[in-house]
Assembly symmetry: C2
Homo-oligomer: 234 residues x 2
């Protein structure tokens, strides 16, 4: 079930590299790897018990998804999406996901509905345990699964990449005050899907994404993870 992410869009060149990339992606999703964290090659090689060759392949994969930023001769760091990028990601999602929700509503089988229902249950359980990281991860997974039901691999891989980046954006810009908007959105979407109401699903997804976007604090400010020069000079 953990392998749900990254099945789409990962090119299975090397099972080992894929495994490492998946593990790192999961860690980023669950906010265990904070934005800006350095990912040293030797360190990772030791942790995963593979050579740097494998690590480099995995990092290149993550870099392509823009989950890490590779600086030449400096190393790889967990990405820190800018405010600009945050807007872009949610604008892109607003273009892609609503049509996918409509398609999903047209195609969803009872098994699909059941799968999504389980996801919502787990999400609520995680929220009840105050495990915000896991809840957020599952919340993203809901969107990924929904896109998968839409059965459009090309757009699905885009959406998956966007949701992964969203996880980083949320880590940086989420404001805790607005945690309640999530409460019913996914449930309403699932309801529309089970009714096969594509129009409703599309509209619900659209407003859901607007809610998410506006639940971010994207005002310009000095981010704490900025360069030390900027942070300490004045």
């Amino acid at each position: 079930m953990n392998a749900a992410f990254e099945k789409i869009g990962r090119n299975k060149t090397s099972p080992q590299a894929d495994s490492v990339a998946e593990s790192l992606t999961l860690a980023i999703h669950q906010h265990r790897l904070a934005p800006g964290t350095k990912l040293g090659e030797d360190e990772l090689a030791e942790i995963y018990g593979v050579s740097r060759t494998i690590i480099r392949a995995a990092i290149q994969s993550l870099a392509h998804h823009q989950l890490v930023e590779v600086k030449r001769n400096r190393g790889a760091f967990v990405a820190q999406p800018s405010i600009r990028e945050a807007h872009e990601v949610f604008e892109a999602r607003a273009l892609l996901e609503p049509p996918m929700a409509r398609r999903a509503a047209d195609r969803a089988t009872p098994q699909d509905i059941e799968l999504l229902n389980q996801h919502i249950q787990e999400e609520h359980a995680a929220l009840a345990l105050d495990d915000a990281g896991k809840a957020l991860y599952l919340s993203g997974l809901f969107h990924v699964e929904l896109t998968r039901i839409a059965n459009h691999a090309t757009i699905a891989s885009f959406v998956e990449a966007l949701i992964a980046r969203s996880s980083l954006i949320i880590a940086l810009y989420w404001r805790r005050e607005s945690a309640l908007c999530e409460k019913h959105a996914h449930h309403a979407l699932l309801d529309a899907l089970s009714r096969g109401d594509g129009q409703a699903a599309e509209e619900l997804m659209k407003s859901h994404l607007v809610d998410l976007h506006s639940a971010l604090d994207l005002r310009e400010r000095q981010k704490p993870s900025r360069s030390l020069k900027e942070a300490l000079s004045p």
Copy 2:
């Protein structure tokens, strides 16, 4: 000017690997590398005068863009998008490019207009010389430049990947009969952009993409590149 492609979305880990990837991408765009062509690592390493390490990095990059397909322990091959994938690519473009055209119309500077104009000139020149490969390449470049003007890096990288795949799709499924629809589409788009008419640009792009999509022969059939077993057994 050849480097126009792949500046977006390529993660500059290694200049050499980037250079190789760019060269291969260009070759695919210009239909010098046909779908299905095997890309042997040693062969490429010799051609470019670098080690297989570099080649593998470049191939992984292309694989991520789905320009090549990597088969485990078999090697990399120039991708052969299926009919299904062809539909998906143009559906995705239909979702992303019209809004980008609108944005571009709102933001285009006189310099941008001039740049696009030059592209159209080159495209016409290539057509006049019957260099269909180059014309198609420049045609794709027009879309890339337009998206770049829209100043939305996230969607631009998606569009760029889609256009690259479109080049393969056109190589496989283009029907020569319908070559004229291209004639005025880009010019009309440029006109809308120069007027700053976002609404018109969006509509023009929408219908242009529909035209392109319908200029493909996407009927199911036995492709000649199928396995011999399938082709000759019945």
